[in-house]
């Protein structure tokens, strides 16, 4: 390849990056931050922005699992319930013999991964529609939580959980660090492994993927398993940040995870997209919530405003392109 060719290639590559959805979503976030810090004093302070990203980490981690599922052509409506199960269930696994607090965390992650695998089993082998399967799972888990936890909140006395929720190694909240690690691993798995390529193929056309030899059942189970794992991880971080777990603690993360995925440009129909978009998508959502809180409105109006803003943003950032 000649030098001039390389020049053209890199220029076109720059154009691809600048016009890509992840980049545009990042640009919107930056724009909103700049405007908001002029309008509202204190919004642009380092501490406040860091706090926003810390909140976004939880959404971002749930959205990581959701992105896998959506790209593979499904949807996971049980993530909110799984977050709650993790947050409320963790104290149940407390073992006195383990002073580090690692055992309960591993137990909870294993449990939520199994919940995800059961979702996948229903979708792949029993051929239940993903919406029905995961919605039924959510309802099932909510019932289970009420029986186990009752109405009372549980307090975590797990040192590792509190560390994840509150520590700031090198001045960065531990939750954000976890999110960074998750993001790197997710992006590599999604875009640099055959497993990732299979997801995109399944989402774009399950029949063509099957006839090309993609193992549909195991891949489907894997994505829902990943989604369960991520929701469990998010639940542990939420518990650490809150100090207490209660039924309903995970509720905000269902719509948020799906909105982050779609705002980031991933097709809700599957087959197209990237987690690189869901990352700024999550930060954008948190930012909007923060802006709405600044506006002194009643909770009802805040909710209405939030929903409206998400719709407007989706309209602005381009709707689903028509498929032939």
């Amino acid at each position: 390849m000649s030098i001039s060719d390389a020049g053209i290639l890199s220029r076109s590559r720059i154009r691809t990056i600048v016009t890509s959805r992840p980049f545009l979503t990042f640009a919107i976030v930056a724009l909103v931050w700049i405007v908001a810090s002029f309008v509202s004093r204190g919004f642009g302070a380092y501490g406040h922005l860091r706090y926003l990203v810390e909140l976004a980490a939880v959404i971002g981690i749930v959205a990581a699992g959701q992105t896998f599922v959506v790209i593979a052509g499904g949807i996971d409506l049980s993530v909110a319930a799984i977050v709650t199960v993790a947050a409320v269930g963790l104290p149940l696994f407390a073992i006195d013999a383990d002073p580090t607090g690692l055992t309960p965390i591993l137990a909870v992650l294993a449990m939520t991964t199994v919940i995800g695998l059961v979702n996948g089993l229903g979708v792949a082998l029993l051929r239940v529609h993903p919406m029905i399967m995961t919605l039924a799972m959510a309802t099932f888990l909510q019932g289970l939580l009420i029986i186990i936890a009752g109405g009372s909140a549980v307090t975590a006395s797990n040192p590792l959980v509190s560390w994840v929720g509150n520590a700031r190694p090198f001045g960065v909240p531990a939750g954000i660090l976890v999110w960074v690690v998750v993001s790197v691993v997710v992006l590599v798995v999604m875009h640099a492994t055959p497993f990732g390529a299979r997801l995109f193929a399944m989402g774009a056309g399950p029949l063509a993927a099957k006839l090309s030899g993609v193992p549909i059942a195991t891949t489907t189970m894997a994505v829902y398993g990943i989604s369960g794992f991520m929701a469990g991880l998010a639940g542990i971080i939420v518990l650490g940040m809150n100090g207490q777990g209660y039924v309903g603690i995970g509720d905000p993360y269902l719509l948020a995870s799906i909105a982050a995925v779609v705002l980031g440009g991933t097709s809700i129909l599957g087959g197209l997209g990237t987690y690189a978009g869901s990352i700024p998508g999550a930060i954008l959502l948190v930012t909007i919530t923060a802006l709405i809180t600044v506006v002194n409105a009643s909770p009802g109006w805040r909710s209405i405003l939030f929903g409206t803003l998400i719709l407007v943003l989706l309209l602005l950032s381009g709707r689903e392109a028509a498929r032939r």
């Binding site: 055959p194 299979r198 193929a201 006839l211 090309s212 993609v214 498929r323």
Partner: protein
């Protein structure tokens, strides 16, 4: 002579830079049955879609009653009295006969559907086509031929001035065809303009007065049928000796068994025995939908199959699933490449690499440069035109088919299962695919070629298994192969009955 009701003047249409129609004109006169002939992929369907407003021409005009129509749309076409009976049925199987016939044009009273009036009018349309099933029968319960009659009744319900029929008789029985012929005669006498597409030349000779022939998107004849014979029509359609299209046939069949099955049942196929040798091209023929596809899918592990005994590439038993079939050296190229063969929204390179992704260890890191190298090699080998980074939907049908075939080559499959590989593919690509097939066989692969194109079977295959009603009716050797022999075997049952 009176003026045409519907006409196209110099219309051209291309898809993704691939011209399908080049400056074609056609005039549909009242009281005339106009035949539209041409091979698969000649542009007939595109022309119909332009006339019915489903597509817009890139250039040229559509005229209704001598007036050029600016924005021809399906609804405008309906208002102008243009009705189309599509080749692919457009019926809703859960709705009743009457509801399907009236769909979109229900009679109303006080804003509600007037079911009484609907039944009366739909019943009248059904009588015309000799459809005597109760009007409340769900269309899903009807056979393909009866559904075709519902489709025709649906067109008549709208009292059309122009009736376009796309291969209406391909799924009809002899009696139903006779009813349709009588009906068209009557409509013609009433002054309806009829456009009739069919591959059955004797039907065309009997029914039509005028003919337009398309070949590779251009009009090669537009003339009265008077004084034209069937052989002349074929020459106009093909424009060459069919022998040119096919490579010279030499058998490369060996004594080694690639696949041997007995007591095989899958889908519509029941108790089939078959053996295929390495280096052989085995054709699968028969009327459409006799279970041929189930035979391929069952061998490929894509649908459940039972077997009394089976050997596939030396190992016993059928593949349990598709990944297992791939491991054992089988590859399948589906007929419906848009849904089953490719991912149109994904880049060409991703499509070419998918079987590799399916077989590699799930979490091994990919090497983009190695993928690029493989894809470039395949693209060169198969003469796939186009930038590999672009979405596969930008490719022409022929190039898409080549991608669907090429993607298996890195795995060097020893058995190729091909399901109608040349359907909707241009002539040039057909020739390339035929050459590839003989190349595969010559390199010791076994090729199973399911085809709805009978000349293909005659010119390419060592043997042809003709399937009828889920069984292999006959296996013809190359020496016995002719289009007549295959068709006769495909229709065997009816013949015997007539002979008795």
């Amino acid at each position: 002579m009176s003026a045409p009701i519907l006409a196209a003047r110099g219309v051209s249409k291309g898809f993704f830079g691939n011209p399908v129609l080049r400056s074609v004109s056609i005039e549909l006169m009242p009281g005339r049955v106009h035949a539209l002939l041409g091979e698969n992929g000649a542009g007939k369907s595109t022309l119909i879609n332009l006339l019915s407003g489903a597509l817009r021409p890139d250039s040229g005009t559509i005229e209704i009653d001598g007036q050029a129509v600016g924005h021809h749309s399906p609804s405008e076409a309906r208002r102008a009295g243009i009705a189309v009976v599509q080749q692919e049925l457009s019926l809703t199987s859960s709705l009743s006969i009457a509801e399907n016939i009236g769909l979109g044009a229900y009679p109303r009273r006080h804003g509600l559907v007037d079911y009484g009036a609907l039944a009366a009018r739909a019943g009248a349309a059904c009588d015309l086509v000799g459809l005597h099933e109760p009007l409340a029968t769900p269309v899903g319960d009807l056979s393909l031929g009866r559904r075709q009659m519902v489709e025709i009744a649906k067109a008549l319900y709208r009292k059309p001035r122009v009736l376009i029929l796309d291969e209406p008789t391909s799924s009809l029985s002899a009696t139903e065809t006779r009813i349709l012929t009588g009906l068209l005669e009557r409509l013609r006498a009433e002054g309806v303009a009829i456009l009739y597409i069919s591959h059955r030349l004797e039907e065309v000779m009997r029914l039509c007065q005028h003919v337009t022939v398309l070949k590779d998107g251009t009009c090669t004849a537009d003339r009265s049928l008077e004084g034209v014979n069937a052989a002349g029509l074929v020459r106009l359609m093909v424009g060459r000796d069919p022998g040119d299209l096919f490579p010279h046939w030499t058998s490369t069949r060996t004594a080694d068994t690639a696949i041997a099955i007995s007591g095989f049942s899958a889908g519509a196929m029941q108790d089939v025995a078959l053996d295929i040798k390495a280096g052989e091209v085995l054709g699968i023929g028969g009327l459409v939908g006799q279970g041929q596809e189930d035979l391929l899918l069952g061998l490929y592990g894509a649908i459940p199959a039972k077997v009394a005994s089976a050997t596939v590439n030396g190992a016993p038993g059928l593949p349990a699933n598709v990944p297992d079939a791939n491991r054992r050296g089988l590859a399948y190229v589906p007929a419906d490449r848009k849904r089953e063969g490719l991912h149109l929204i994904h880049p060409i390179i991703t499509n070419l690499m998918l079987p590799a992704f399916a077989r590699m260890p799930a979490l091994k890191l990919r090497s983009r440069s190695a993928e690029r190298e493989t894809a470039m090699r395949l693209a060169t080998q198969f003469a796939i035109k186009g930038d590999l980074g672009r979405a596969a939907q930008a490719l022409s049908g022929g190039n898409q088919q080549k991608v669907a075939l090429a993607k298996w080559m890195p795995h060097d499959p020893s058995v190729l299962l091909l399901n109608d590989p040349t359907r909707g593919v241009d002539v040039e690509t057909k020739r390339e695919i035929y050459n590839m097939l003989s190349g595969f066989a010559a390199s010791g692969k076994a090729v199973i070629l399911l085809s709805s194109d009978t000349p293909e079977l005659v010119h390419l295959c060592d043997r042809v298994a003709v399937v009828r009603e889920g069984k292999i009716a006959t296996v013809l050797d190359h020496g016995e192969l002719s289009e007549e022999a295959i068709v006769a075997a495909a229709m065997g049952a009816e013949r015997e009955r007539e002979a008795a």
